[in-house]
């Protein structure tokens, strides 16, 4: 159980980069961008092909992100220049990317277990430091070494990485260009009248969004040890789940607060998923259904709980006033019969 929990946090930290990408398109640009399902794999595909051919994992990961940037810009281009509806632009790009990803990979699946990846590089350095052994001592002292993960380096590396990405994004969204990007999603008419080329901002914004998504894909294939062309199916929903759960639980007061919420949302989503998978009757193939249920829940529960509260309050008030009326005038009012 705890092993699965640590695994969920580890992958959650890597998927959080993707969630930040979805946050840019979905929240900042107000553009529901389905390119994500394709560009996530594109990042993984480009990175794995490059790593197999001997490129350094670091450069391969960056190249994966760059490929995502181009894909996102293309979606923006379809929308702004081709005047295609946002959803449709994303779907078109997603479908196109499926074939493109297969072309890049040359086959549906690329194993990376014997390749040098960012993780294998860090792992070998990490082993030489002996920090794992030190971190394990408190667990051993408590006699719960079974609850500890095998190693701590993924957690540490993932945390540092996501903090870095979050900080850069926070900074960018406060720059002159960054606030113009936010205004493009908030009030396009207004920012056009203030000399901003909204078409260009949408293209670059979607580019940045998909660059993060693809970089996350590149990291996930290295973490998993293989790249698969079907890896991105439903990824947009995972991203939305992270954004919505994060904002719902941790709030969205400021930009920095919201990006933090999205990151924590991505981790929380993986934890919820891991817990659900522990249930006996749940099969691995139920994963997507569970995802859909989690997102629906996150969307519906806030509205629903508000309605219930209102309904209860109304009922209480009606009861009191009916009684009052009865005492004052001896008159009894009931609901009219309607059928």
């Amino acid at each position: 159980m705890t092993g699965a929990l640590f695994g969920a946090i580890e992958s959650g930290l890597l998927y959080a980069i993707m969630a930040l990408g979805v946050y840019i398109s979905f929240r900042i640009l107000d553009f529901p961008d389905l390119t994500v399902d394709g560009s996530f794999v594109t990042g993984g595909a480009v990175a794995s092909v490059l790593m197999v051919s001997g490129t350094s994992p670091f450069m391969a990961t960056l190249a994966g992100g760059a490929a995502g940037f181009i894909a996102g810009c293309m979606t923006g281009f379809l929308h702004t220049k081709g005047k295609i509806n946002p959803l449709l632009s994303g779907i078109l790009m997603m479908i196109a990317l499926y074939s493109i990803n297969l072309r890049i990979m040359g086959r549906p699946n690329i194993p990376l277990l014997n390749e040098e990846t960012l993780f294998s590089q860090i792992e070998s350095w990490w082993a030489s430091t002996g920090i794992d052994a030190a971190l394990m001592t408190p667990f051993q002292a408590l006699g719960i070494e079974g609850a500890a993960p095998n190693t701590f380096y993924v957690l540490l590396f993932g945390t540092l990485l996501i903090i870095g990405v979050k900080k850069v994004l926070d900074w960018f969204l406060q720059t002159e260009s960054g606030i113009a990007l936010r205004a493009t999603g908030d009030n396009a008419k207004m920012i056009k009248s203030l000399s901003a080329n909204t078409g260009l901002y949408i293209m670059i914004g979607l580019g940045l969004s998909n660059a993060l998504v693809a970089m996350s894909g590149a990291l996930i294939v290295q973490y998993n040890g293989f790249a698969d062309v079907g890896l991105g199916v439903g990824m947009i929903i995972v991203g939305l789940a992270s954004v919505i759960i994060g904002e719902g639980v941790f709030g969205r007061k400021s930009i920095a607060r919201t990006t933090l919420a999205v990151v924590l949302g991505a981790v929380l989503y993986r934890i919820i998923l891991a817990v659900a998978m522990q249930l006996e009757f749940v099969k691995a193939s139920d994963l997507k259904l569970i995802t859909a249920i989690i997102v629906t829940g996150a969307l519906v529960i806030p509205t629903f709980s508000g309605q219930i509260k209102e309904w209860m309050e109304r009922k209480r008030q009606q009861k009191a006033l009916t009684q009052e009326l009865k005492q004052e005038r001896g008159q009894d009012v009931a609901k009219p019969q309607t059928d």
Binding site: S177, G178, R182, M190
Partner: protein, 265 residues
């Protein structure tokens, strides 16, 4: 300054709904002119403003600011020279961003946007002073989200955002029409102050005749896409609402009479 020459604009060309919105309009604004534009609904006032702002392109004609031909320059490029305030208080500001962020966005109208901090501490001070000078109660609410402001406050902010960077042309599109009378009066007086302060060349559309008379040094009246009445400087000072109604009747009445006789025969 601003030159419009033989501007034509027809909507839904070649369909039964064809409408000639602007019919051969020529207009020149000198440096510092403040022209108010009145006319009934559908007269073409807003279309004229949209053509100048670049939201629409004319079918024919020429539009120039100073010695620059802007007839077919995209909206986001020409807004470097043109400031605008819209009728809808929601339209001129970004609701989910703070007051200071909105003001920083307005600074980008004339300067290229880079990777410098949008709201730097020196800008913050400048914004605070701007709001204080404008005498709206917003200077201690710089970090408030604009969506939480009232319509009047948002319109005052829009006006500030459109003017403090001193555009060559200021376009006001019925910018007090959506406000209650007291707030409209307040925005009108702020408008008078900022236009005077920066000596802005201004074109203001309104359907409030009193407002059209009290503001500006020139007045034009539009009907069916044409300028049907023009009062300049000295002439405008003496103008009354009764004069305007009479001018309107005279221009409109004639054409109405013509139409009627045609229809009845």
């Amino acid at each position: 300054m601003l030159n419009l020459k033989q501007i034509e604009k027809t909507f839904y060309k070649g369909t039964p709904d064809e409408k000639r919105a602007i019919d051969n309009v020529s207009l020149t604004l000198e440096e510092g002119d403040f022209v108010t534009v009145i006319g009934s609904n559908g007269a073409g006032k807003s279309t004229l403003l949209n053509l100048i702002a670049g939201v629409l392109f004319p079918d024919q004609g020429l539009m120039a600011v100073d010695d620059l031909n802007m007839t077919y320059l995209p909206e986001h490029k020409r807004s470097k020279w043109i400031g605008r305030v819209f009728q809808d208080p929601m339209a001129g500001t970004a609701p989910h961003m703070t007051i200071e962020e909105n003001l920083a966005l307005a600074l980008g109208r004339t300067k290229k946007r880079g990777l410098g901090r949008g709201v730097s501490s020196s800008r913050k001070k400048e914004f605070k002073k701007l709001l204080q000078d404008m005498n709206v109660n917003l200077h201690d609410r710089l970090t408030t989200q604009v969506g939480l402001l009232s319509g009047g406050e948002r319109q005052a902010l829009s006006l500030l955002m459109a003017t403090f960077t001193e555009p060559r042309i200021l376009l006001l599109d019925e910018h007090t029409a959506a406000l209650d009378p007291a707030r409209a009066e307040h925005i009108t007086s702020i408008t008078r102050d900022v236009v005077n302060q920066h000596q802005l060349t201004t074109l203001m559309v309104t359907h409030d005749m009193e407002q059209a008379l009290s503001l500006g040094n020139r007045l034009i009246m539009m009907d069916e896409g044409k300028i049907i009445f023009h009062a300049d400087r000295e002439e405008k000072k003496k103008l009354t609402v009764a004069d305007l109604l009479e001018a309107f009747q005279k221009a409109r009445g004639k054409s109405l009479a013509d139409d009627k006789t045609l229809l009845q025969k």
